[in-house]
């Protein structure tokens, strides 16, 4: 191999995705149209809990241009939406049907649908569906006594239990214990593009198609097929551009199934585009948990045991993620620290709110907040600072890999690599910590309320168990990489093309990366759990290695030169290290392998290769967040003056994109820490149903964010050492900001819940 070839992996090159998106040529769900399409509108419950007495569709059906309307009776044959991850048998009875059967369980629960020629008309018609509901008492809190949620079924269907070691002995022998009660508010991903799906039935080929797919198209294809009684081979899902994912977009929701069913029954394409109010009450919520955590410590503040009991506020149904969020919260809580004994008990509770699912760093935003608050409390207890207490408890790199005796998402947690203390040093250097402390001390003596906080975490990424990639070079020399991945805007095409270009020796611009098309590849796991760069990236490398070998073997015959002496440079096969001399184009190799070619021997025609990457374990990046905040005495306003993230990613394929992921993740973390919350009144009426109520950070609220991308600990589980970038920006924001606010207030442990509002700060200042 030529060592002189410029490498793309590791470079911040411009994205393949950008051109069409900047020119207004994207294809988002709402941009998909078919001739003769109908528009679907969902009639949603206006009660948080109630018995459906009647649904009268006739007034809607009487409107010219309205072609059909359904209530539950019309879809009673369709089974509820199943679980994709972390299935627990006890949860099955709480799954959501595509229209509410006899009761509604949150404001927004789909009760009926109408189909009309025009979306405005469909919305008018939905207003004419007469729904009579008898209001029932609501359950809006996840803790307290277990009650009845559905007939004969409790509010608490399951308890997550994880742990190891002798907790009781550790607490009995402890020098001291520290206990906290902490809670995290209800917020969610809220992508700028609302959900949308378009169902289309092609009678001539008996194929059902769904457009607007995202995240997990193959799984959704299989489920839609199962629910509608079809073969998966007769259903295809197509992902276009996706306007943000963050965990919520692309899961299978009732509306996705309804458009497919309607397309078959009504014989016309059916389009549904969610409006923003629907998005805020119908798309998955996340995060809301209350934890009661305690630590047993020795004299120096070293952790002997952690014992956590928490309540997870799931909302009205168990959706596709089943127990995923509380499971991850429990499994990842120990973070980067030595925890000799551990116990987590997570109560899954149903409430009359929008159902929950995953949101970027699911379970970890929550448990990092809880664990890091605990570390700060331990520091206060033993009289050391937040940095020192972390140093005393961090796992040392000499201990790696560390098996946690915990499992999640079907994998055992084995921290694969990491030098946590070194990253902490880098982060502290990044803000000149001693000088920062001196400045803060000076400003405080001048009367300012200013403080700094540090939080650390371990992320998980690269969830298997497999990913396939198929690379083909056609007779023009064009390279197509077909993946089972999905794109939610994170730059999949760019990263995969970088890996392919380097491994194969072709031009970045000659590569086209396919994702999210179930008709192009038999199976695929999509985009979640920060898995794509790790899993699809390595599968791409493996396929490219195979294809390269194939190219060189054929070129060797054509050029009458040993394959070992050949290289592929910019799509041209040349003799290694020799600028002159015979060469051959990839296009010529592909042409030489056309069907019937004598060069083929026993091989299949065409120039292509496939590979699968299988992985039983996740890979574990890690990070440090440092926040500096100041508080306004008069208004309680919280100003984030400075924010730094140090993140060890093993190997950054495109540092610009990694940084983009981290900064964007921090912005969402700030939202959950200070602004965003789905609140309800005491009847379960949601109070955040517009962007004027649900406050996402703007350019004014997000400060400049310093990012240190570190590559100290490549993963030993894949040859490039890759780990995922998607969630480390979000993970510790709540924790770091809480610590900084405590410090600014001079009140250790003051912050016990997120989001923190100016009103809360004012109340604390009055203390």
């Amino acid at each position: 191999m030529s060592g002189a070839r410029p490498k793309l992996v590791g470079q911040s090159i411009a994205r393949k995705e950008d051109g069409p998106l900047l020119r207004g040529q994207g294809l988002f769900a709402a941009d998909v149209n078919f001739p003769n399409q109908l528009h679907m509108r969902v009639v949603r419950s206006t009660y948080a809990h109630g018995r459906i007495l009647s649904v009268d569709l006739a007034p809607a059906l009487a409107i010219p241009g309205v072609h059909a309307a359904w209530a539950f009776a019309d879809v009673a044959d369709i089974p509820p939406i199943d679980f994709r991850l972390t299935k627990l048998e006890q949860l099955a009875a709480y799954r959501q049907t595509i229209l509410a059967k006899d009761r509604v369980r949150y404001v927004g629960d789909p009760v009926a649908v109408v189909f009309a020629d025009d979306p405005y008309l469909a919305e008018d018609a939905a207003e004419h569906v007469a729904v009579e509901i008898e209001e029932l008492p609501v359950i809006l809190h996840a803790d307290g006594e277990v009650g009845e949620f559905r007939e004969g079924l409790p509010t608490e269907p399951a308890i997550i239990r994880k742990g190891y070691g002798d907790i009781d002995a550790a607490f009995a022998a402890a020098h001291a214990t520290v206990s906290l009660s902490l809670s995290i508010g209800r917020h969610s991903g809220v992508p700028l593009e609302t959900r949308g799906s378009i169902g289309r039935y092609v009678a001539s080929t008996d194929m059902l198609e769904m457009y607007g797919a995202a995240k997990v198209p193959h799984w959704n294809r299989d489920q839609i097929a199962r629910m509608l009684g079809r073969s998966p081979a007769s259903v295809n899902l197509f992902e276009g551009h996706v306007g943000g994912g963050f965990g919520v977009r692309g899961e299978l929701y009732p509306e996705d199934v309804l458009v497919c069913l309607a397309a078959i029954r009504l014989g016309r394409p059916v389009k549904w585009i969610e409006d923003r109010r629907e998005n805020l009450i119908a798309t998955n919520h996340s995060r809301q948990q209350t934890h009661h955590i305690r630590a047993a410590i020795d004299r120096d503040g070293r952790i002997l045991a952690i014992d956590d009991e928490f309540y997870h506020d799931q909302g009205g149904y168990m959706r596709t993620h089943a127990a995923t969020v509380p499971d991850l919260a429990a499994a990842m809580l120990p973070g980067p620290y030595r925890v000799p004994a551990y116990r987590a008990v997570g109560h899954i509770r149903l409430t009359n709110k929008t159902p929950g699912g995953t949101y970027r760093a699911p379970g970890r935003y929550e448990s990092t907040f809880v664990r890091e608050r605990l570390l700060d409390a331990i520091a206060a207890k033993v009289g050391v600072d937040g940095v020192e207490i972390r140093r005393r408890n961090l796992i040392d790199k000499s201990e790696m890999p560390v098996t946690r005796a915990l499992e999640t998402l079907g994998t055992d947690i084995v921290l694969d690599s990491g030098d946590y203390a070194r990253l902490l040093d880098k982060a502290l250097d990044g803000v000149s910590w001693p000088e920062l402390q001196a400045v803060i001390a000076q400003r405080r003596s001048d009367g300012e309320l200013v403080g700094a906080g540090v939080a650390m975490f371990v992320e998980k990424s690269g969830l298997g168990p497999f990913d396939d990639v198929h690379i083909t070079i056609d007779i023009t020399g064009h390279v197509e990489v077909v993946t089972g991945a999905a794109s939610v805007g994170q730059g999949v095409e760019t990263v995969i093309a970088q890996i392919c270009a380097d491994t194969l020796g072709v031009n970045y611009d000659d590569i086209n990366v396919i994702h999210g098309q179930t008709n192009r590849i038999a199976r695929g796991l999509g985009a979640f759990a920060s898995r794509v760069t790790v899993m699809t990236g390595e599968a791409t490398r493996l396929a490219a290695v195979k294809l390269r070998d194939r190219v060189l073997a054929v070129a060797s015959e054509l050029l009458q030169s040993p394959a070992a002496d050949l290289d592929i440079v910019n799509g041209l096969i040349v003799r290694s290290g020799i600028s002159a001399g015979p060469s051959i184009k990839l296009a010529q190799i592909a042409a030489a392998l056309a069907p019937g070619s004598t060069l083929l021997g026993n091989d299949e025609p065409g120039l292509s290769a496939e590979a699968s990457f299988e992985s039983k374990h996740m890979v574990y990046p890690y990070g440090v967040h440092i926040a500096v905040v100041s508080l306004a005495r008069d208004t309680g306003a919280i100003d984030i003056e400075r924010y730094l993230v140090a993140y060890d990613i093993g190997k950054a394929v495109n540092p610009m994109l990694v940084e983009g992921q981290i900064v964007g993740g921090v912005a969402q973390g700030i939202g959950g820490a200070l602004y965003e919350e789905f609140t309800y009144d005491d009847r379960g009426e949601p109070l955040a149903v517009t962007f004027a109520d649900y406050l996402m950070p703007t350019a004014r609220e997000v400060p400049h964010i310093d990012v240190i991308i570190s590559e100290d600990a490549p993963s030993p589980l894949n040859p490039m050492g890759l780990k995922g970038a998607g969630e480390g920006g979000t993970n510790a924001v709540g924790a770091a900001i809480a610590a900084a606010i405590d410090d600014a207030l001079g009140q250790p442990g003051a912050i016990t819940r997120l989001p923190v509002s100016p009103q809360m700060i004012k109340a604390m200042l009055r203390k």
Partner: protein
């Protein structure tokens, strides 16, 4: 409710003769009647700014304007920014500074920034951030958007 009026929308210099209900929003008319789907609809209540277009040179939320109100006026959308293959400086600096991820909010930010800089080429950095805070982005955390707009502002002032 379904009475329609014939109007002409001039989008990026081209006339579109369309027939719309009085209640039809400009955003929907641009996208559906005129087929220019680069303008995106994010909230339909005027907060997110994804649907920002220029009407007579002013950035407006096209979800809060009726199509009929824009009849006969000069409308500019994201599709009109580039000249053939050559991107507008604002598009190029967004690419160079990684000012977009999913790209859904991007047309709104491009039109907002172009509209403001054409009127106020010497706008201060502070005021520019204020202007940009009127649109929402959920992916980037805004830092690269601000960088991109500042870079484009320099180019636009020079040209």
């Amino acid at each position: 409710m379904t009475d329609k009026t014939n109007i002409t929308l001039n989008i990026n210099g081209r006339n579109h003769a369309i027939s719309v209900e009085s209640r039809r929003t400009l955003a929907d008319a641009i996208r559906e009647e005129c087929g220019q789907t680069g303008t995106h609809i994010g909230c339909e209540h005027g907060v997110c700014g994804a649907c920002t277009v220029l009407v007579s040179g002013e950035p407006v939320r096209s979800c809060l304007m009726f199509a009929q109100q824009a009849a006969g006026k000069e409308i500019r959308t994201v599709e009109g920014l580039a000249r053939g293959d050559e991107m507008h400086p604002m598009q190029r600096t967004f690419m160079e500074n990684h000012g977009l991820q999913c790209g859904f909010c991007t047309p709104g930010f491009l039109m907002l920034a172009v509209g403001v800089l054409e009127k106020e080429p010497d706008i201060s950095d502070h005021d520019l951030v204020d202007v940009l805070s009127s649109n929402l982005c959920r992916c980037t955390g805004y830092q690269n958007i601000i960088k991109a707009v500042r870079a484009a502002a320099i180019e636009m002032r020079q040209s």
